[in-house]
């Protein structure tokens, strides 16, 4: 079934809030980021599997990236990535000019931990999705100017 993405955004916001209280009190921001990233990773792996079930295998790395920027992004954020740049040496920068998970956050929020925390799960999803289709990488997240952000993918040498 297709459901409104509002409920997904609300769930994500609550996940960030509730995971802040860890097992024995509160998690540090570093630990929280890690936990959210981990969760995102598992969801990303599972989700791209579903997205690519009836699809022919990817031709190459760039083919993967284009899929991620279009179909994958669409399926999660209801829009495509606005800009993809690469140095053709394993580094890809994905720019989303209106990142939905920021919701109603104000522009000054980009200086808060909270906004950055909202990128941890998405960053993990991206990394998990790529890993599941054979592209092992690190993913860096950066808020350029609310609500625009960047995900920098560095493919690890195999």
């Amino acid at each position: 079934a297709e459901i409104p993405d509002s409920v997904f955004e609300l769930l994500h916001a609550e996940i960030v809030r509730v995971l802040k209280n860890g097992k024995d009190g509160s998690r540090s921001n570093t630990e929280l980021k890690l936990k959210l990233e981990e969760m995102g990773y598992r969801v990303g792996q599972g989700w791209i599997e579903k997205c690519t079930k009836d699809r022919a295998p990817f031709k190459d790395e760039l083919d993967v990236m284009k899929f991620v920027c279009k179909e994958f992004w669409m399926s999660v954020y209801n829009k495509q990535v606005d800009n993809l740049r690469t140095n053709h040496q394993g580094v890809y920068v994905l720019q989303d000019n209106k990142f939905h998970f920021f919701g109603q956050m104000s522009s000054t929020a980009q200086y808060t931990d909270e906004a950055h925390m909202y990128m941890a799960f998405p960053g993990g999803m991206l990394r998990g999705a790529l890993a599941a289709v054979g592209v092992n990488c690190t993913v860096g997240c950066e808020i350029t100017s609310m609500p625009a952000c960047k995900f920098t993918i560095s493919v690890l040498p195999s």
Binding site: A1, E2, P4, F8, I15, G22, K50
Partner: protein, 183 residues
């Protein structure tokens, strides 16, 4: 007025995601909560709290996209919950059943629970109500429309029960409903 119109406009954009993605994410969440909190009862509580916080906001989204009017009694409320609420956000229409004599209590029976698809609960978590976020969502949403309702799961097929049943009990009408925001 303008913000209402903006909300209407926003709501009629069909920004949809697959419920499977939602289900996957929910599964990862429950998994993490089970690791963080030792007792099932505590996990149930956390899920309920989360649901409440979601519900108080989700209701606004629902009202903006569905034009549903004020419910005059609990029976109308039940219909709206099942046919509009659950239908919109989970894609299913639970059966309304087991009304109390005074029509202040009823059950929602979920023949199919999208949240629980492909989920198995290990034997050492028999007290867990996997989908307990729904209890909170209903409670929070109803509070915002001035109804204090007690909501709880009483059966769950994931625990080996015959059905998945949520019980809703009308407590009272709220006057100036400013919910004490839960942390």
């Amino acid at each position: 007025l303008i913000s209402t119109m903006a909300r209407q406009a926003r709501a009629t954009e069909s920004r949809k995601i697959s419920s499977e993605l939602f289900t996957l994410t929910y599964g990862a969440l429950v998994n993490q909560l089970v690791k963080d909190y030792e007792s099932d009862v505590e996990v149930n509580k956390q899920l309920d709290k989360m649901g409440y916080n979601i519900g108080v906001r989700l209701i606004e989204d629902l009202l903006a996209r569905s034009n549903v009017g004020r419910c005059h009694d609990f029976r109308e409320t039940a219909e709206v919950i099942s046919k509009i609420g659950f239908k919109t956000y989970l894609g299913v229409t639970p059966t309304i059943a087991n009304w109390s004599g005074g029509y202040d209590e009823f059950s929602l029976i979920l023949d199919h629970n999208p949240l629980a698809e492909f989920v198995e609960i290990p034997d050492d978590h028999k007290k867990l109500f996997y989908s307990n976020i729904l209890s909170g969502v209903l409670r929070g949403a109803l509070e915002m429309v001035h109804q204090e309702v007690e909501v709880k799961f009483i059966q769950d097929t994931l625990r080996g029960d015959d059905t998945t049943e949520i019980r809703l009990k009308f407590i009272r009408k709220l006057e100036d409903a400013i919910p004490a925001g839960e942390e």
